[in-house]
């Protein structure tokens, strides 16, 4: 049984429903096979920015700006799809780091932008297959910004997006470096 703790458990600056967030997080965790884990969510409701990160891998603590859970059509209101996607992406990062294929991946704070985006692309592609991620073109635009607006970058993106749980950190590094090598 997933145990989700949320901080704060009520909101003053935004109109988020803490119970709803807990339910969404629980559904995502179940889908990703983390159904027996304890997960803590820390939400900074004072920020409308969209940042999110894994604050701790063991125990699992996810931290996000309120903007990362926000409905972009109704500011200050919860965006359920966005919330699920954000949590899913962070949990998938945890799953990856637990696998030996990602043992050599640098700490989050040491990941440069291109590598972070390449890994996010691989993550989002897998989540897309599980129905937990949308906006492929948005991800592609982020990828292109870090790896170039080129056929090589687009091919690399497609490869990362369509690879279901097949890649190791070394593959992501190689693919990202390969694109950047073609940049003038």
């Amino acid at each position: 049984m997933t145990e989700i703790q949320i901080e704060p458990n009520s909101f003053e600056m935004v109109f988020f429903d803490a119970e709803k967030i807990v339910n969404l997080a629980s559904e995502v965790a179940q889908k990703l096979g983390l159904g027996n884990e304890q997960i803590k969510l820390r939400i900074d409701e004072t920020s409308s920015m969209g940042r999110s990160r894994v604050e701790s891998y063991e125990p699992i603590i996810l931290a996000a700006d309120g903007g990362a859970f926000e409905n972009t059509q109704r500011p200050r209101y919860l965006g359920e799809t966005r919330t699920s996607e954000t949590i899913a992406r962070l949990l998938m990062r945890i799953i990856d780091r637990r696998s030996p294929e990602f043992a050599n991946a640098p700490e989050d704070d040491l990941l440069d932008l291109p590598l972070r985006v390449a890994w996010d692309t691989y993550t989002a592609g897998r989540l897309n297959l599980l129905g937990l991620s949308t906006q492929m073109k948005r991800r592609q635009y982020q990828f292109r910004n870090r790896h170039g607006f080129s056929d090589a970058a687009d091919e690399a993106f497609t490869y990362l997006w369509e690879s279901p749980n097949e890649l190791a950190w070394a593959d992501i590094e190689r693919i990202s470096a390969g694109c950047r090598a073609t940049l003038v």
Binding site: M13, G50, Q73, P75, N145
Partner: protein, 265 residues
Amino acid sequence: MRKIFPAEELARDSRFVRQSNEDRMNDPRGARVGGSTGEKLSKLTPNLPNGPDRARALMHGIFVGEIQALEGAGRTCYDFETITDVPFAMKLDMARQCWDEARHCEISVALAEHMGTEIGEFAENTLLYQAACNPDPVLRLTGVNRALEGLAIDVFNTMKEFGSIAGDPVLEFCEDWMLADEVTHVKMGSDWLRELTLNDKERLTKALEFQKVVDRLFSFNGFRGEDDENPIQLTRRFRELAGFSDEEIDDIAQMSREAAAEIVH
């Protein structure tokens, strides 16, 4: 059809969701406060970790702004009697602006597709069109053509640089073309303001005051200015081409610094 069409009735399809000015202004979080870290927003460049996403959101804001600019220019064609209220030549300029803004909408739609943004993905605020509802055509010119289109010059120049740094040929190309048109629109505003208030200093004063009000609204939270922490950079060169004086540009920069100083962390 009525003269003066209210902003609340602007026709939209189901994808568009409106955010009221009150909701926007009353958001206690503010636009540039990085939450409990106190981190501020900075100049919008692709080097920012969330640069591409912020660019997407901004360009969607531009898109809905272009729709409203198109609607506003169209209403100015209709709302006033030719000759008695506005010169025929001014209406011709407004019709020309309709064509330009329609093209900008088309460019924005193509850009949204390129950036992975869906139409209506972000809430729409109708402040631009509200400025275009002013019953005095001269105030419409200052509010829309000088203040808001002036802001558009700043945004497009910033985004053109964004595209150049990112190596995004589509973004750079689109912003360059839209920027050229906006300089024309601002110049239209400057030229007609001068012409229509040649012998009416009171009307000129009122119009420039209205322009300042609109400029102040869009300096909200230091969104636009000349400092590195302003996401959108004030563009002196193109504003000069469009008929802004140094003094006017200095005023806008000062307004932005004052807006930034008002932020509560």
